[in-house]
C-alpha cells in the first residue's frame, strides 16, 4: 500500500459539504473550537480547498486575520499541504500575490511570516530585500531578523557607525538575548541603556504583608487586599499588624526581590499593587516572571493564578492577555513563598511588564510622554 494514500476509513469520515465553495470551506475551518469541535467539517473543508490548488493560497492566508490560534493552525496546515503539492508538481506559487501579502502589515503576522518562508525557499534574495524594512514589524519573527542583520552589520562597523547601528537595532529589539547584546555593545561605547524602560517593567509598587501561607494554605485564602485595595488600611498579618508600604526596584529587568529587599519569610505571602495610566482602552499583555505561586488582578478582576513553586523563573515566563481601560488601572499581584529548604528554593521575587503581542513595551501615559524623544532609553 502506498503510505501516502488516505486510508479508506479516513475518507469515510469526510463529508463533502463544501463541493466548490472555498469561502464556505474557510468558514468551516474558522468554526473549529476547543475539544476538537468542528474537526470533522474542517477535514472536509481541507479537501475542498486542496482540490483547487494554488488559487486558494491567498484566501487561506487572509483568513488568518481575526482567527484563533487553533484555527490558524488548521489554515496553516492546509496552506502547507497545497504549497507543498504545487511545488512538487512543478508549479510556481503565486509569487506576486504572496509578496504583496507579506508586505501588508495589516494582515496577520503569522500568515505573513508563513508566506514569506515559502517564498524564501525559491527566492532567497527576498531576505535581504524585505527584512531590513521590518525593524518595527508587527511580527516578532520579522523584527528579530531585522535586528539580527543590524547587529551583524554593527559588529563589522567601527566607532560612531557601529553605535548608530546598535541604537537603530535597539528600537526594534523585543527579545532578551538581542537586547542584552545591544546594550552591552552600547555600554562598551559609553552609552547607557535603560533596559527596564525598554521592556516596560513596572518598577514602583506598594507592598503589604506577610500573610500566612504555612503549609501552602494561603494561596486560596482571600485576604483583605483581594476584596479591595485600600492603601490606608491596616490588617492583621502573619507576624502582626501590616500596612501598605512603598517599594521599588532599580534592577534592569524589573525584579522586585522580596526576599532580599524585605525578608524571605518562609510560608508567607505578600500583595503588591500599582496603578498604570493608559492613554486609551487597549488590549495588552502583562508578562510576569516568578519562581513563586502567584495571582494577578487587573481592576479588581482575577486574570490568572498559578500555584507552582520553584520551577525556575525567566523573563516573560507567563503571558497574560488583559484589557486596560483609558485612565488609571489597578494591578494587584499576590506572591506566595513556601517552606522548601533547598538552596534553589529560596527565591521570593517577581518581575512584571506591560507590552504588546510582539513583546514591545507599552508605556503608561507619563512614561509615554517622556518617550516622545527618539531613543529615550539611551542616555
Amino acid at each position: 500500500m502506498n503510505r501516502f494514500t488516505i486510508p479508506i476509513a479516513m475518507l469515510c469520515l469526510v463529508t463533502p459539504a463544501f463541493a466548490d465553495d472555498a469561502a464556505d470551506a474557510i468558514k468551516a475551518i474558522q468554526s473549529v473550537g476547543e475539544r476538537s469541535k468542528g474537526a470533522t467539517n474542517a477535514r472536509a473543508a481541507v479537501q475542498t480547498l486542496k482540490q483547487h490548488g494554488g488559487k486558494n493560497l491567498l484566501p487561506i492566508l487572509k483568513a488568518f486575520k481575526g482567527s484563533s490560534l487553533l484555527t490558524k493552525n488548521w489554515l496553516r496546515s492546509v496552506f502547507e499541504a497545497i504549497a507543498d503539492a504545487e511545488q512538487k508538481a512543478g508549479r510556481a506559487l503565486p509569487k506576486g500575490d504572496l509578496l504583496t501579502f507579506v508586505k501588508d502589515t495589516s494582515e496577520s503576522p503569522s500568515a505573513r511570516r508563513l508566506a514569506f518562508e515559502w517564498l524564501l525557499q525559491r527566492s532567497p534574495q527576498l531576505e535581504s530585500e524585505l527584512i531590513p524594512g521590518m525593524l518595527l514589524d508587527p511580527s516578532p519573527d520579522f523584527r528579530r531578523d531585522a535586528v539580527r542583520r543590524l547587529i551583524d552589520q554593527a559588529s563589522e562597523a567601527k566607532d560612531d557607525a557601529a553605535t548608530d547601528l546598535y541604537e537603530k537595532a535597539l528600537t526594534g529589539a523585543v527579545h532578551e538575548d538581542q537586547v542584552t547584546t545591544i546594550s552591552k555593545a552600547l555600554k562598551d561605547a559609553g552609552k547607557e541603556v535603560d533596559i527596564s524602560r525598554h521592556f516596560g517593567f513596572l518598577m514602583t509598587w506598594k507592598i503589604i504583608g506577610p500573610f500566612d501561607n504555612k503549609d501552602q494554605k494561603g494561596f486560596p485564602i482571600a485576604y483583605p487586599p483581594e476584596a479591595k485595595v485600600d492603601l490606608s488600611a491596616e490588617y492583621d498579618g502573619q507576624l502582626g499588624k501590616v500596612k501598605w508600604e512603598p517599594i521599588a526596584t532599580d534592577d534592569d529587568y524589573g525584579v522586585l526581590d522580596i526576599g532580599k529587599q524585605i525578608e524571605n519569610y518562609k510560608g508567607s505571602l505578600m500583595y503588591t499593587t500599582t496603578t498604570w495610566q493608559s492613554e486609551k482602552d487597549q488590549a495588552v499583555e502583562i508578562r510576569l516572571g516568578t519562581p513563586n505561586a502567584w495571582k494577578l488582578w487587573v481592576n479588581g478582576a482575577l486574570v490568572f493564578e498559578r500555584e507552582e513553586y520553584h520551577r525556575g523563573t525567566r523573563l516573560d515566563q507567563y503571558k497574560v492577555p488583559v484589557s486596560l481601560k483609558a485612565g488609571s488601572n489597578t494591578i494587584l499581584v499576590k506572591i506566595c513563598q513556601n517552606e522548601q529548604e533547598q538552596s534553589w528554593a529560596q527565591d521570593y521575587k517577581f518581575q512584571l511588564r506591560v507590552c504588546d503581542r510582539t513583546g514591545a513595551a507599552v508605556l503608561p501615559v507619563t512614561q509615554a510622554a517622556a518617550n516622545s524623544t527618539p531613543r529615550k532609553e539611551i542616555r
Binding site: S36, N73, P140
Partner: protein, 414 residues
C-alpha cells in the same frame, strides 16, 4: 533486596472488566514498526531485529538535517520515520516530519504554532515528548500540551490545544511525557504542581473519551502499556510520585494502584507480565491476568535509575545512574549482579535488541553493550560529536537516533 508489603497495592472491588476486549494495536500492523516512545510495547525491546553492533562511520546509512531541536525520539511506521521538533526564539514553532526510511529524504513536513506555554529549562525543549502512531495516524505531543493528529500523509485530522484548554497544565521547566496508543485511544499525561490530569482522546475524532485528575506534582514520566492477558484487556499504567495506576484505556477507570511511590523521571515498563517500576530504587510487581491480585516480587534500592528508563534484556534489569554507571540486576530476584562504567551522562533510554544494548550519552557518544549474567562488555563505541538527549528507535534491521541537529540511521553495510 527486599519485599514490599502487599498493602501498598489497592484494587477497586467494584470494578468490572467484563466485556472489555481491547488489544494493544488493532490497527494495521507492520512488522518492524516502532510506534511510540520505547517501542510498540513501551519497553524499549526490539524483537526480531538484526542491528549493527560493531559501530563505525560505515554503520551510518544516512544523516539528515533537522529544522529544530528535540528530545523526542523517532518512531517508524512502514517505511516512514516520523519525528517532531521545535524551533524559533520562543520555541513556539512545532514541527512534524516524515522521512523515507531508505533514503532519509523528507517526505513531508508540517508546522504549527504552539497554543500552550513554551518555556522550558534550557536543556529541554518543547519537542520533548516522542510522538505515537496507531499505524494510520501520527499523534504529536509537545511540552506546550499541544496534541496534534495528522494522517501519514501529513493531513491534519484534529488538533487539541490541551495547554490552552487547561491553562495551568504546564511546568516552567518543561513537560516530557510521551503519549501511548491503546486501541482507539491516545493517552496523555499533563501533570504539574499547578494542574495535573491524564486524558484518553479518541484517535479518530480527537474528542475526549475521559479525563481524570492526577496527583498535583511535577511529573515527567510517560505512560506504559500492560498488554492484554487472558481475561483482561490492555491497560495503561500511569506513573507519578504517588506510584502507579492501572487505567482502563476506554473509560479512564482505575483498575488497580501501586501506592508505594515512584520516580517522576524514568518510566516503568512491562516484560512478560512483570511490571518494573522505578520505585525506591527498582521494584517489580506481577499483576494477575484479571487484575484482582498483585504479587510483589522484589525491591532493590541499589538498582535505581536516573533519567533513562530501565530496560530488561537477557534476564537482566538494566539501569543507568547519574554517574553513567550501568547496573545489571537479576530480573527474578533483584540481586545486583554487576556494574559497568560508561562515559558521561545519559538522558535517552537505551534500546535492547538482538542481545545487545544501544546507549547514547548526552555528548553524542554511542555504546553497544553485550550484557551477560556474569558481566557486561562494551562491544563498540562511536563518537557522533553532537548532543543526544533522545531515545533511539529500531525498525527493519536498522536503528534511528536524533541528535540536536540531525536524524541518523544506522544499519549493516550492504
Amino acid at each position: 533486596m527486599k519485599y514490599l508489603p502487599s498493602a501498598t497495592i489497592r484494587i477497586p472491588a467494584a470494578l468490572a472488566l467484563a466485556g472489555l476486549a481491547v488489544t494493544a494495536f488493532p490497527s494495521p500492523t507492520h512488522a518492524g514498526d516502532w510506534r511510540q516512545f520505547r517501542g510498540n510495547d513501551a519497553n524499549s525491546i526490539a524483537l526480531g531485529e538484526n542491528l549493527p553492533t560493531e559501530l563505525s562511520g560505515d554503520s551510518i546509512a544516512w544523516k539528515v538535517d533537522l529544522p529544530g531541536r528535540g528530545l523526542s525520539g523517532p518512531i517508524t511506521v512502514g517505511q516512514q520515520i516520523l519525528l517532531t521538533a521545535s524551533s524559533g526564539y520562543s520555541q513556539d514553532r512545532l514541527h512534524i516530519m516524515s522521512f523515507d526510511a531508505e533514503t532519509g529524504e523528507t517526505q513531508w513536513e508540517r508546522q504549527f504554532e504552539a497554543t500552550g506555554r513554551t518555556g522550558c529549562h534550557p536543556k529541554m525543549c518543547v519537542a520533548t515528548p516522542t510522538p505515537a502512531s496507531d499505524g494510520e495516524r501520527v499523534f504529536a505531543f509537545y511540552s506546550s500540551s499541544d496534541l496534534i493528529c495528522t494522517d501519514l500523509a501529513g493531513n491534519l485530522q484534529w488538533y487539541r490545544g490541551l495547554g490552552a484548554e487547561y491553562r495551568n497544565a504546564s511546568n516552567s521547566l518543561g513537560m516530557s511525557s510521551s503519549p501511548i496508543v491503546i486501541g482507539s485511544t491516545v493517552i496523555v499525561q499533563a501533570e504539574s504542581e499547578a494542574e495535573a490530569f491524564a486524558a484518553g482522546v479518541d484517535t479518530v475524532t480527537g474528542e475526549t473519551k475521559w479525563k481524570i485528575d492526577r496527583p498535583r506534582k511535577a511529573n515527567w514520566t510517560s505512560p506504559t502499556i500492560l498488554p492484554a492477558a487472558e481475561g483482561r484487556p490492555a491497560l495503561a499504567l500511569l506513573q507519578s510520585s504517588a506510584g502507579l495506576s492501572a487505567v482502563d484505556p476506554e473509560t479512564g477507570n482505575v483498575v488497580w494502584t501501586f501506592d508505594n511511590g515512584a520516580s517522576t523521571i524514568p518510566s516503568s515498563l512491562v516484560v512478560d507480565g512483570t511490571v518494573v517500576i522505578p520505585s525506591n530504587g527498582l521494584t517489580t510487581i506481577k499483576p494477575s491476568a484479571d487484575g484482582s491480585a498483585i504479587e510483589s516480587v522484589w525491591n532493590a534500592s541499589n538498582l535505581g535509575p536516573s533519567t533513562p528508563s530501565p530496560v530488561v534484556i537477557n534476564g537482566l534489569t538494566i539501569t543507568v545512574n547519574s554517574a553513567g554507571a550501568l547496573s545489571a540486576g537479576d530480573i527474578t530476584t533483584g540481586e545486583r549482579l554487576w556494574q559497568l562504567r560508561l562515559k558521561g551522562k545519559f538522558s535517552g533510554t537505551p534500546l535492547a535488541s538482538n542481545g545487545h544494548l544501544f546507549f547514547f550519552n548526552e555528548a553524542g557518544y554511542a555504546f553497544v553493550v553485550r550484557p551477560e549474567k556474569e558481566k557486561g562488555k562494551i562491544v563498540s563505541e562511536l563518537d557522533l560529536t553532537e548532543t543526544i538527549l533522545a531515545s533511539p528507535a529500531a525498525s527493519d534491521n536498522a536503528f534511528y537516533v536524533r541528535s540536536d541537529g540531525h536524524l541518523w540511521k544506522f544499519s549493516e553495510q550492504r
